[in-house]
């Protein structure tokens, strides 16, 4: 079966039940696509076995880029393109470069991080989000299991979800 099309949804009323359910469902060999919650559930990312984000590495790289950019820019502007005598200092004197380098490091790092985050999270303007169950924005936790990535049948998965404490089990198909 093609992945990303046909889902089984487990609806949970309580976040404590959900947390235990995630562990139970994963232990029984079912791969969970994603869990949608109306509020952050503490410890959910551990239960789901998510690896820590590598965003900080991107932040460091962008910071380095910003720093290099700032130093190069100032060196070129004040040392090569338009040398000016300011307060009797050398054309290329490092201390006055520090504030600008700092600001550009922070700016490029922050903008780069936002951009990276949007790309890896597949967020873009005018993107229509896929809504599994509208109640996940109100008072229900929704666990989505992709039939395409699981070897078990729809009924078997439904049974696992039911046993784990789901208040209802639904189908959801996207075209």
């Amino acid at each position: 079966m093609e992945s990303g099309k046909n889902f089984v949804l487990g609806i949970y009323d309580d976040e404590d039940v959900l947390l235990e359910a995630v562990t139970k469902v994963r232990d029984s060999g079912v791969k969970i696509h994603e869990v949608y919650s109306p509020f952050p559930v503490h410890g959910l990312e551990h239960a789901l076995g998510y690896k820590r984000t590598r965003l900080p590495i991107a932040a460091f790289m962008f910071g380095l880029l910003g720093f290099t950019l700032a130093v190069t820019m100032q060196t070129w502007m004040l040392g090569v393109d338009w040398p000016m005598i300011i307060g009797g200092k050398n054309f290329i004197s490092l201390p006055p470069f520090v504030p600008v380098s700092f600001e550009l490091t922070v700016l490029i790092s922050a903008l780069g991080m936002v951009g990276t985050f949007m790309i890896i999270s597949d967020l873009k303007p005018y993107k229509k989000p896929r809504m599994f169950d509208v109640r996940s924005t109100d008072d229900k936790h929704v666990m989505a299991v992709d039939l395409g990535t699981n070897n078990l049948s729809k009924d078997e998965i439904g049974k696992v979800l039911n046993e784990s404490g789901a208040s209802e089990v639904n189908d959801k198909n996207f075209d």
Binding site: H42, G43, R52, P56, F60, G87, G88, P95, P96, V98
Partner: protein, 452 residues
């Protein structure tokens, strides 16, 4: 929860005594080396100083200020360089270890004032550090009278003669800050000494009161002690904001009496604060390695690691804010401070080492999340910071006292080890007196579940 107590074992005491004994041996060796190192004839030495500093000064005006300085000293009875070096180091260590002690109290009060929960399990360590306060106060007061003639140029009575007779008009303008209400130039700078006594007295009083409530909480439980400690903390923080700044002017900035910096109060505070945080980290990790402090886990280490990392950068920010403005304005009476430190061959390497130890290394080594959660990395960076900020204080004090004669040798290392042994001994001695974990702390439960 079972009561956990630190046991100050004979083995630990022995190690501290060895640290102190090695320090004494190194110190004595260092003194002999410094003595035999002699600069020969004293008059030639004074001339030498004038020449060197004139060469260093960036403008003519500067040279005048400096040679006036040197002239003023040459006119006085000149102390031998090796003795000056001892005095200078005595003062560095006094100021530095006073800082570590008062930061112990400051850390606790910050935790109370902000109602922080994460630190509930490790508050006894800064409390033990603050136990050094009364000894720091007595040592500092006594040393001041020993070192004043050599470390504090402004104590020389001849500076307060009329200007035509060799008086110094700049220092005369500041003299009331030290001598009021006594006669200016008298043997006792009453206002100065009174401030020192009052600051230590206030700090110690708040320490005793807060400690009383912290320990009584172990027995009585409830919220009352916490609330009282919190009120005391809030008042202390206001007092400390002023007193830390003024003590920075008194104890360190007045060593270079011609010079001033409006950043200086913050500069000293940030240096004390980050070295105190690093010291707390070292003690926590060492206790954990010995099997104590089970309730402190990597989440708590992460938080204290963030403190160390963040305030290393804060120190750098303050350091740079002071440096950039003085560098850019290039006003002779201000810039002389950095000329003395950056352009003298025996301080230039210390100047750059200071930045390396206190900014570059902590910044790069503690940047990642994993680094802050690992004891091995914290145990690498924290000692670097503790040593680094001793170097920072060395750089603030020595060029003002020794001019271009300063050095870092066995004498400096030995005296630092002696003070370190004394400080650690008093801290651990007091740590063993009370339970290691505040079992009735209202936020202990929160601390147990702390997760980041």
């Amino acid at each position: 929860m079972t009561e956990e107590r630190y046991e100050f074992t004979a083995g630990a005491k022995k190690k501290i005594f060895i640290l102190g004994a090695v320090g004494i041996v190194l110190f004595i060796l260092g003194v002999f080396m410094a003595k035999s190192d002699g600069h020969g004839d004293e008059a030639a030495h004074a001339l030498n100083t004038i020449e060197e500093t004139s060469l260093l000064a960036s403008t003519d005006e500067n040279a005048i200020v400096l040679s006036e300085d040197a002239h003023g000293e040459a006119a006085h009875h000149e102390t031998a360089p090796w003795l000056k070096r001892i005095f200078s180091n005595l003062w560095i260590n006094n100021v530095y270890f006073t800082g570590l002690a008062i930061i112990g109290l400051f850390f606790i009060t910050i935790q109370y004032a902000s109602q922080a929960g994460w630190s509930a399990g490790m508050k006894r360590i800064p409390l033990a550090m603050a136990s050094y306060l009364p000894i720091a106060g007595i040592l500092m007061l006594v040393s001041w009278f020993v070192v004043k003639g050599d470390v504090f140029h402004w104590t020389h009575a001849s500076l307060y003669l009329p200007v035509a007779e060799g008086g110094d008009s700049i220092i005369q303008g500041k003299a009331a800050l030290w001598y009021w209400p006594n006669e200016i130039g008298s043997s006792l700078p009453l206002f100065y000494i009174a401030r020192m006594v009052i600051f230590f007295g206030l700090w110690y009083w708040f320490f005793v009161m807060i400690k009383k409530h912290m320990l009584a909480e172990d027995i009585d439980g409830g919220l009352n002690h916490w609330k009282k400690a919190r009120s005391l903390s809030a008042i202390f923080l206001v007092i400390f904001a002023v007193s830390s700044s003024v003590s920075a002017w008194d104890w360190v900035m007045s060593i270079d009496p011609h010079w001033f910096s409006t950043m200086f109060g913050w500069y000293i505070f940030s240096s004390w604060w980050v070295s105190g945080l690093a010291f707390i980290t070292i003690v926590v990790v060492m206790l954990k390695r010995q099997g104590y402090l089970k309730i402190v886990n990597e989440n708590h280490l992460h938080d204290i690691g963030k403190f160390v990392f963040g305030f290393s950068i804060f120190w750098t920010y303050i350091w740079f804010s002071q440096f950039l403005l003085i560098y850019y304005a290039n006003i002779p009476e201000e810039v002389v401070y950095f000329v003395e430190r950056m352009k003298a061959s025996n301080y230039a390497w210390v100047f750059y080492t200071n930045i390396l130890l206190n900014f570059v290394l902590p910044f790069l080594l503690l940047m990642t999340r994993d680094a802050k959660r690992q004891m091995s990395m914290l145990m690498l960076v924290s000692p670097i910071i503790v040593i680094g900020h001793w170097v920072d204080f060395y750089l603030m004090v020595t060029p003002g006292v020794m001019k271009t004669d300063g050095a870092i040798g066995l004498l400096e290392i030995g005296m630092l080890m002696i003070f370190l042994a004394l400080f650690i001994y008093i801290m651990l001695h007091n740590l063993a007196k009370a339970p290691l974990v505040a079992k009735n702390h209202p936020m202990l439960e929160e601390s147990l579940h702390h997760h980041i």
